[in-house]
Every structure is written in structure tokens, then in C-alpha cells.
């Protein structure tokens, strides 16, 4: 147990905010982290069941609700098990101690004589006639949580560490399950005519033409430059929204140029510059090698377009959202609409996987704005597919230039990573703006360039700092003050482009030194957990029998520790390159300390591999003229079933080490392993993602 309380407890000290014993012999567990497809709710339920000693089926979990669940900020950055899980463990252990302490007094026995079997209290193994539901009372919930109770040792775990199935999947394979499926009384559907860009002014809208195209009665809601089409029939408002694009005239639309879609564009932009690590300029002595790597803008590209519901009744606004943070969203919405925070309730409902800050919050604000204009109805806004691709915040393009001064053996003695990128996080609580707010009569000031600090893993600098034993290392970060389109967090932030650069460069330096890339890494790596992973993956993928360079068939390997403090992962990729790249096999190993649900963890590790491979090989947001032009799945292709390789994941059993967030840990290593395998297959290096057919052809004629 750590000596400091997790933030989740510090911000929510009242026991009844987290746990309640319910009359039907269940336990209500309320948490602030939300399900975004990562299986967090079953993992948190397992932790509570373990510490309370109740069956897992008795845990009735409520998540993401500003009326009834604690404030745990956003569900992001692989923090849910590290922070919320640790909190639920401490809180559950403390409640158990409190209740059993009172029972010991009642029975005039030592607490050590008492035990709990599925919520029933035993004394020396015999029934006491008491259980949580009959014996616990208000006094158990009165005092603030201290976090001082000793949780179980991992060796005693019966539920934690087991592959307990998720409950939410049952609805998802049989019928209604998502925010999109919620039906409420007085439901009206809404679609938005989006302001093309901040500052654009709606000069005219031919409402008659839109109504005619809709074919049936609609309401047109206009507030400043915000326009919505609302009606009882979803098909009709959808038609209106599609037709409106041709019947609206805007002035002051910002014009985008194709060169702005490339990471290199950032090199000449005004930036906020920071220097982290060893002071002084990069060394100029000895052999100095430098290469530059990049990833373009990429989209979250959730499978479902964003959706939000809102209703304003009797002076209270209720909102449903697939947001990652219900409290931050409540605060944003109440501020924008001039309501008090207590006049707004935000409840989480499941959406498609978001992998970061996408359009979820914005769709909720859309619905809320309409609800204030049309009270006493439930307003359901669903974005169109083109709207999702065109207006969700995207992940910034990112360029990393690495520079190493080498010793006589070809090993770095001085290492510099120089990063150019826009903001990797611009949540509304983090300097960003909400989309529809910019269309309202009093728009907010422009978004401020921002990035998480180093203590939180950094943004553009995430994993920029190598964990190899180099004598001197530094990161120089050029955070662009402006980006051509809105940017915000996407799985791993800067970790993928930075690990791509770092681990590709290591292969290039190994080749230069005439060393095997794995042996080269291990010669400069003292962290035993990292070494073990690399050796594990190298063994399994047959690294020693890796073929020669340039045969068209490649094997590459890379590793990282996410944020340099969360889970470790190592990935090897085998692929073939003809005109395109075909992934054949992937071997991965991860060390996340104590794993709560190994099946859920494996699912996340596999998903991270496929997601990263898709990004590395295929994905780029394109822009021109009025905005983003990659507006559908043809123009923003992602990995298909026929392109997914065989994947074999091993989780290192390490239950005595604290849990490390692992949802993002395979992301960077997968990208770099692909980069290294492509270089092995071709004999030439491709440093700019995505590794498309055009890039391969260009590299081969270089």
C-alpha cells in the first residue's frame, strides 16, 4: 500500500458515495470510470468482490453518473485500474474492516476470529447469524474514508486474477445496448448543420428548400451560427441535414491546404518550446547520426457516430453521453448554457469504442443546446458519418527527429529527441473548446495549445525519453501554438510516433554498429523486467534464425514501457512486402504487474496491436479547402479481417508488483516492430507513416 491516497479517494471521501448494501443482497458499487470497451467494469467489480468477500454476481456496478457516482475525472491514459482499482480495493477493504470491527465488539471476540463467506459472517468458521445486509448500518458509512485498512495479499486472491466474463457483452450480442438505442418519452431526433470552422458565419440558409427536402414537418432551431433540424422522425431530420449542406452559405470559413495534413508542416510553425532531461545542447563530438520520423493526423474513427441525449424539465437538464468524463462534461455544459452545475446531471451510456477524446462530448452539448430551446422533450442527436470524420477532434500529426552521438562501439553516449506536434490533449477542461460552443453567440476564446506535464506521462513527449542506459539524454518539445483542425487525445498520445522513432532508430544504429538489433538493445538495457520481455519475445519468434535482409520477408521487434512508468510490452512482427505489406504473425509479451482480469487484459493487448498496425499501415486524415476530406471508410480505411495477422500474446505473471495500466502498452512497440520488419524485408527504411504502397514504391526507387 502506498502512503498517499489515490486522487479518486481524496476527491470522494464519503463511503456511501462508493458502496451500499442493497435489500436484494447485492452490493452497489459506484465508480467514476466508465466502460469504453476496455472491460473496466468487470475488473473493478472483481476487486470489490475480492476485498468484501462477496460473490462477483452480487456486485451491482454503477458508473459515470454525476448524481449517484463519485467524481473520478476522465477515463483515460490507462489509469482506470491503477487509480480507480486501487481506490476500490482500499475502500472495500476499509468497509469490511469497519463492519467486522463492530461485529467483533458485539460478539465480544477478536476480529481475527471473524471471516466472510459470500457476504455471510462466520466466527471460527461457524455461522454468526449476521451478514453485510443485516448487520451493516449508517455508522459504517459515517466516517470519511481513511484508506488505512490493509487489503488482502495477492496470494489470497480468489476472484482477482480470474478471467471473469464481462456482463455488458450479453446485451451487445443480442439487441439494444448503446446510447444510440435509448428511448425516452417525448423523444425528438436532432441533426446538426455544422459550422464549417470556428469563426464562420452563416450568411443564409434556405429553410424552405430544407423543409421541402425533408418531406415532412421539422423544427429548425437556430442559435447564433448553431443550426439543428428537429423532429419526431429520424429519417426526415437526417434528410434535412444532408440537404442543408447545399442550402447554407457561410462566410469566413478557414481554408486548409494539403501540406497542412503532413507532420513536416509543424516544423515552421510558432511553438511553445521546452527542454527536458540533460541540460545543454546535443553533443557534437564523435560520430553524430540523425534521422527524422513522422506520423500524420489520425482519427479515432469510432465505428458509431457520436450521439447525445438531453432533456430540460422543470429547470433541470439531464444529459446522457458516451463521454469519458461525466463530471468534466457537466461542468462544461453548465458553464456554456449558464446553468449551475447542480442544475445539470450527466449520465454515462455505452458508445462505440472511442480510444480517446472524440465527438462524444460535442454531441452531448448539441443535444443540450436544443433541449434548452425545446424543453420537456428528450432530444436525441446522432451525428452523420461524414460529421464524425469531419468534426471530431483528431490526433495531431507528430514528427520526431532523433540524434545520437556514438562511441567507438557505435553506442549512443548523447541522445536527443526533438518533437514537433500540436496538442495531444485538448479536452474542454484542458484548454480546448467544445464544438457547438464556437457557433453560439458568445464563442469562447480560441483553444490554447496544451499538453500533459511530464509527471502525467507528457503528450508530445510521451515515451520520447529512452529507457536505455545512455549517459546523456534529452527531449526538446516544440508544441505548436495552432493546428489546422481541432486535435485531442487518442490512445497513447505521442507514444506511438515516439516509440516508432526510437525503436526504428535503435535498429538503424545496431545495423551501423554491425550488431544484432536485439543484442544491441540488451547491451544498453539494465531494467530486468524489460530484458525478460525482450528475451521472451525473441525466443518465441525465432529471432536467432532471422533470415537475411531484403528478401521481401521481414521480422522486426520493438518494446517500450508505456509512459515510461506503466506496463511494459514487447512485440515482434513477421510480414511480407510485395506491393503492399501483409502482416503474417505477431508475438507479444506484456508485464503489467498484478493483472485483475487476464482475459480482459489479453483482449486489450490484442486490440492495441491491431489498432496500432492499422494506424501504422493505413491511416491518415486528409484535408483540403473547407476542411477534412477523409469523410468515409473508403477514404479513411482501417484494418480488415483479411489483413489481420495471427497474434500470440503472453502476459508475464507478476502479481506481487502493483497493477500497471496496459490498455495502450502494445501501441508503440507494434508500430515500431512493423517499421523494423519492413526495413528487414526491403533493405530500405521507411520513416514516415503510414507505410502505404506509395511509400514503399518511393523507398525502393530512392
Amino acid at each position: 500500500m502506498s502512503d498517499t491516497l489515490p486522487l479518486s479517494i481524496i476527491n470522494n471521501r464519503r463511503m456511501e458515495k462508493w458502496l451500499r448494501f442493497q435489500p436484494d443482497r447485492t452490493v452497489k458499487l459506484a465508480v467514476g470510470k466508465v466502460e469504453i470497451g476496455q472491460g473496466v467494469l468487470i475488473a473493478l467489480s472483481q476487486i470489490a468482490a475480492e476485498e468484501l468477500d462477496v460473490g462477483i454476481d452480487r456486485i451491482d456496478i454503477l458508473s459515470g453518473d454525476t448524481a449517484d457516482a463519485p467524481d473520478e475525472g476522465s477515463t483515460s491514459s490507462s489509469q482506470s485500474i491503477e487509480v480507480s482499482g486501487r481506490s476500490v480495493r482500499l475502500i472495500s477493504a476499509e468497509l469490511r474492516v469497519r463492519v467486522l470491527g463492530r461485529l467483533a465488539q458485539r460478539l465480544n471476540c477478536a476480529p481475527e476470529e471473524l471471516s466472510v463467506d459470500d457476504g455471510v459472517f462466520l466466527q471460527d468458521g461457524k455461522p454468526t447469524g449476521h451478514d453485510y445486509w443485516s448487520f451493516s448500518g449508517p455508522e459504517d458509512f459515517a466516517a470519511e474514508i481513511e484508506g488505512s485498512a490493509q487489503p488482502k495479499p495477492p496470494a489470497a486472491y480468489k476472484v482477482v486474477g480470474q478471467p471473469v466474463p464481462r456482463r455488458d457483452l450479453i446485451a451487445k450480442v443480442t439487441g439494444a445496448a448503446f446510447i444510440h438505442d435509448i428511448a425516452r418519452p417525448d423523444l425528438l431526433h436532432g441533426r446538426i448543420l455544422r459550422q464549417p470552422s470556428r469563426g464562420a458565419v452563416l450568411a443564409s440558409l434556405n429553410e424552405a428548400a430544407v423543409r421541402k427536402a425533408a418531406g415532412s414537418a421539422i423544427q429548425i432551431v437556430r442559435v447564433g451560427n448553431f443550426v439543428a433540424f428537429v423532429g419526431v422522425d429520424e429519417t426526415v431530420v437526417q434528410r434535412a441535414a444532408v440537404a442543408a449542406l447545399a442550402h447554407a452559405k457561410w462566410t469566413g470559413v478557414r481554408v486548409l491546404r494539403p501540406e497542412q495534413q503532413e507532420a513536416a508542416w509543424f516544423r515552421d510553425q510558432p511553438s511553445d518550446d521546452r527542454h527536458i532531461g540533460d541540460p545543454g545542447p546535443p553533443a557534437e563530438t564523435g560520430v553524430v547520426v540523425s534521422e527524422t520520423y513522422s506520423r500524420p493526423f489520425v482519427a479515432h474513427a469510432a465505428l458509431a457516430p457520436s450521439c447525445g441525449l438531453a432533456e430540460y424539465r422543470g429547470g433541470h437538464l439531464s444529459v446522457w453521453s458516451h463521454t469519458q468524463g461525466v463530471y468534466p462534461l457537466r461542468n462544461s455544459i453548465s458553464g456554456i448554457l449558464g446553468l449551475k452545475p447542480e442544475q445539470v446531471t450527466v449520465r454515462h451510456a455505452h458508445g462505440a469504442g472511442c480510444y480517446g477524446h472524440n465527438g462524444a462530448d460535442d454531441a452531448a452539448l448539441d443535444a443540450a443546446i436544443i433541449a434548452m430551446q425545446i424543453p420537456d422533450h428528450c432530444i436525441r442527436v446522432q451525428w452523420r458519418r461524414e460529421e464524425e470524420f469531419g468534426f471530431e477532434p483528431v490526433s495531431t500529426a507528430h514528427m520526431t527527429r532523433l540524434r545520437a552521438a556514438l562511441d567507438a562501439n557505435g553506442r549512443p553516449v548523447d541522445w536527443t529527441a526533438e518533437v514537433w506536434a500540436g496538442s495531444h490533449v485538448q479536452r474542454p477542461v484542458f484548454g480546448g473548446t467544445m464544438l457547438a460552443h464556437e457557433a453560439l453567440p458568445n464563442p469562447p476564446p480560441p483553444a490554447k495549445a496544451n499538453d500533459p506535464g511530464e509527471a502525467n506521462g507528457g503528450g508530445g513527449t510521451r515515451n520520447g525519453f529512452p529507457l536505455y542506459d545512455f549517459p546523456a539524454k534529452r527531449v526538446i518539445h516544440h508544441l505548436a501554438l495552432q493546428t489546422p483542425v481541432r486535435t485531442s487525445s487518442l490512445r497513447g498520445l505521442g507514444a506511438l510516433p515516439n516509440v516508432y522513432a526510437l525503436e526504428c532508430f535503435m535498429d538503424e544504429l545496431a545495423e551501423r554498429a554491425g550488431m544484432d538489433p536485439v543484442a544491441y538493445r540488451l547491451s544498453m538495457l539494465s531494467d530486468p523486467r524489460a530484458r525478460l520481455l525482450i528475451e521472451n519475445v525473441a525466443d518465441r519468434c525465432g529471432w536467432v534464425s532471422r533470415g537475411p535482409v531484403g528478401t521481401g520477408r521481414g521480422l522486426g521487434l520493438a518494446w517500450s514501457r508505456y509512459k515510461n512508468k506503466a506496463a511494459y510490452a514487447c512485440v515482434a512482427v513477421e510480414l511480407e512486402v510485395d506491393q503492399d505489406i501483409s502482416l503474417r504473425r505477431v508475438w507479444a509479451a506484456a508485464d503489467a504487474g498484478l493483472v485483475i482480469n487476464p482475459d480482459g487484459a489479453r483482449n486489450q493487448l490484442e486490440g492495441g496491436i491491431v489498432h496500432a498496425a492499422s494506424m501504422t499501415l493505413k491511416e491518415q486524415v486528409t484535408m483540403d479547402g473547407d476542411g477534412i476530406t477523409s469523410l468515409d471508410w473508403d477514404r479513411y480505411p482501417i484494418m480488415k479481417f483479411s489483413e489481420v495477422p495471427e497474434i500470440e500474446v503472453v502476459i508475464i505473471h507478476n502479481p506481487d508488483f502493483p497493477t500497471l495500466g496496459m490498455g495502450e502498452c502494445t501501441f508503440g512497440p507494434t508500430a515500431a516492430a512493423i517499421g523494423n520488419a519492413v526495413a528487414h524485408a526491403l533493405g530500405v527504411r521507411i520513416r514516415d507513416m503510414p507505410l502505404t504502397r506509395e511509400r514503399i514504391a518511393a523507398a525502393l526507387v530512392r
Partner: protein, 155 residues
């Protein structure tokens, strides 16, 4: 106007515009929310239903074109209490992350298993290649379809 069709074995009569997307009719008139909107462009597969036993996109399909035909949605396969073997296999394999793609994928898998009770891995991949899964759950999804095939022919 009124359009007659069979949905999940039940005769239904739908009032309204024959050009309305079948997906909108299923979701908003018949309250079958298991078929999902993803793109409206026949690119992602979240809206997949069976029309006379063949997997078909419903997002851009006019309801008038299915008059007199049999439509099956995910709700027509099984329920949480009595899941279809495919649904059971997906749960046993925990073949989902966010789960948004799953109902459409299970529909395509049903069409596959109905015509080929013992599909190869390549057959499964080919049958599912019209579907997108953004979470990267492909490996488990393929394993779940293989498992369902081993469970025996569903009806």
C-alpha cells in the same frame, strides 16, 4: 402507404414512405435496436440483417424493396436468456470490446454457417471482410465463429 414484410418470423405491416431506409424502420418503428447505424454508406456492416437468408446492409436499403420478404435481425436469433449458438460462442470467447460491430458480424456469420456448416478460417474471413471492427477484436471474433460451427448447425 403500407408495406408488408416478415421480420423475425412475424408478419408486420409498415406505414410510411417506401424510400425510408430499412434500418430506420427496424430501429424506430419496430423497436429492434440490435441493428446499428454506423455509416449509412454500406461500408462498415453494423447494420447487417438477413433478407431471405442472405446477409444484406440495411442502412441504405429502401424498405419498399423488401416488401413480401423475410428479414431477420439479431433479435431473431436469440435472447439473453436463450442465446443462439453464435451468440453463446461470442460470449464464451468474450469476442468483443466495445461490441458495436458484433450484431452485424453475427448476422453475417449466421448466413455463412447456414450455407456452410464447416467453414474454413479463410471462409470465415471472407464472409466477415465487409465488416469493420475498430477495437481490433478480429482474432476472437474468428475464433467465436469457429466455435459456433463446432457447436453444430443452428436453426
Amino acid at each position: 402507404m403500407s408495406i408488408d414484410l416478415t421480420v423475425n418470423g412475424r408478419a408486420v405491416s409498415v406505414d410510411g414512405d417506401a424510400t425510408t431506409p430499412l434500418l430506420d424502420v427496424l430501429r424506430n418503428q419496430l423497436d429492434l435496436k440490435g441493428s446499428r447505424y454506423g455509416c449509412g454508406l454500406e461500408q462498415c456492416g453494423t447494420c447487417m440483417v438477413l433478407i431471405d437468408g442472405e446477409a444484406a446492409y440495411s442502412c441504405a436499403r429502401e424498405v419498399g424493396s423488401v416488401a413480401g420478404r423475410r428479414v431477420t435481425t439479431i433479435e431473431g436469433l436469440g435472447t439473453p436468456e436463450i442465446p443462439h449458438p453464435l451468440q453463446r460462442a461470442f460470449l464464451e470467447e468474450q469476442a468483443g470490446q466495445c461490441g458495436y460491430c458484433l450484431s452485424g458480424i453475427i448476422i453475417s456469420a449466421k448466413a455463412l454457417l447456414d450455407r456452410n456448416a464447416k467453414p474454413s478460417r479463410a471462409d470465415i474471413v471472407a464472409a466477415l471482410d465487409r465488416h469493420l471492427c475498430r477495437c481490433g477484436t478480429h482474432i476472437r471474433i474468428i475464433a467465436a465463429v469457429q466455435k459456433a460451427a463446432l457447436m453444430g448447425a443452428p436453426t
